[in-house]
Symmetry: C2
Subunit: 270 residues, 2 copies
């Protein structure tokens, strides 16, 4: 029996004094030129991710693979994603950042693709189609479906902030998703942006035990401290992508990423 | 310069007296046993889709590939999807039913993956993250992003039907998406379920020129006629998947699919 996702998360947090999730968003236009010059693109992406994992796995407790950057590679994309996933040490958590969401039967195939075929520990999910589009991601023991609740992009206010009968839409989503996760074999988590720390703190006080995946924190100590305060003591992963991946574009990119990851880890816990 | 998606759609409708989109959802548990017995799963899926296309391309004006059923195949999945896409005659429209939706930079990579790398004509998109998650799917000339507006699954009432300040949420989404599409190089369409024909008719009267993708119509003439009446004279694709794909599970599956497609085409236009 696999232990619950949030149990693994908490153990890793204690063990490594870290809440850092490294986001693997291998943007072809930002890869080190020496890799691009010597390898076909998909091999350069694979090597880049391998080197980043090697340089950061002592400080990261999770890796989030942004599926878009693998799909854009075409026929080789899934294979590269699979290779990268398998390179992540087994004790570290993996997240397919895929924002999936479809009717029940299709959703169950997306869930099988991510949890069974590929072997991820968790996935990001979009809630717009409602319960039967989320439930299939909650039936896999030991996994977590991070559902989009309150994102931090400019468009997040278009719908998530709409006033509904009793609450703002994202609050309705949070309440519903939390209840769907209560009796599930897997866990339900929330994606909550780092920009609005007041909303983050309010969500945490209402949902103390839900795992939060918080994207968008850079290496800046100040905002990291504010986010951590707002995230409280519940289970949390703080993602950083570009600040780590592209800390240097030279041949020292991996060492620079390792240093940036360590700085981010430390900033998040002080 | 590629002609607009809805122009191609209308020409095909006239030419073939058809609004039929055949949904390619190759569920491994439903494939003909003789294919599964003689081929590895991914080859069986490819062959099944090839044979369905061969048998239905005289009546279909679009094919919708349900990406979940290709992703579940793992490393071979994208390649099989690409082969199937390339087998669709060039004049027939293709839809990646992927329900993508992510922040701007990631969304632009999803759009590149679907439109540039794979070569689809359109995609389904989820609106929860707002404008900057949809806009990147609207910049490719000659393409269409069908945004989830009012779906017909059981969970569609969880959020889409919530009363917001002025409208139900799905009405807010429809209004916003239509406006985002107005000045874009590509087109914005709506995914509208076939179950609620009143809502469908209301949406059509408000948005007479928006392409509607309507999933979930079977071979039943009755509901087909009601849906077509509600969909009015604007651009529309009516999708049928299981009623065509699995019309027979024997060696005659392709002939049976061809007949079912023709019956559905005829039912939709009478």
């Amino acid at each position: 029996m696999k232990p619950p996702f949030s149990t693994r998360l908490e153990k890793l947090r204690q063990l490594k004094s870290s809440v850092l999730c490294v986001g693997l968003d291998p943007d072809p236009s930002k890869l080190p030129t020496h890799l691009l010059a010597s390898l076909p693109l998909h091999d350069a992406v694979r090597q880049f991710c391998f080197d980043i994992i090697e340089a950061t796995h002592h400080t990261a407790i999770a890796y989030k693979l942004n599926v878009a950057f693998f799909e854009v590679l075409g026929r080789e994309g899934f294979s590269v994603m699979q290779d990268v996933l398998q390179r992540i040490p087994a004790d570290i958590l993996s997240i397919a950042d895929a924002k999936r969401g479809d009717i029940g039967n299709s959703a169950s195939f997306y869930a099988r693709a991510v949890f069974d075929t590929a072997g991820f520990d968790s996935i990001t999910v979009s809630p717009y189609m409602g319960r039967d589009s989320v439930d299939p991601f909650l039936v896999h023991e030991g996994t977590c479906a991070f559902v989009l609740v309150r994102t931090s992009n400019p468009g997040s206010s278009d719908f998530q902030q709409l006033q509904t009968n009793d609450n703002l839409l994202y609050q309705e989503v949070a309440t519903a998703v939390a209840s769907w996760g209560e009796e599930a074999a897997g866990e339900a988590g929330f994606v909550v942006g780092a920009t609005n720390t007041d909303d983050l703190a309010t969500l945490r006080s209402s949902f103390p035990h839900i795992p939060f995946l918080i994207p968008g924190v850079g290496a800046q100590g100040g905002s990291a401290a504010e986010v951590m305060k707002a995230a409280g003591s519940g289970p949390v992963l703080i993602n950083s992508s570009r600040g780590i991946l592209y800390a240097s574009s030279g041949e020292d990119f991996a060492e620079a990423a390792g240093r940036a990851a360590e700085e981010t880890r430390a900033a998040l816990l002080t």
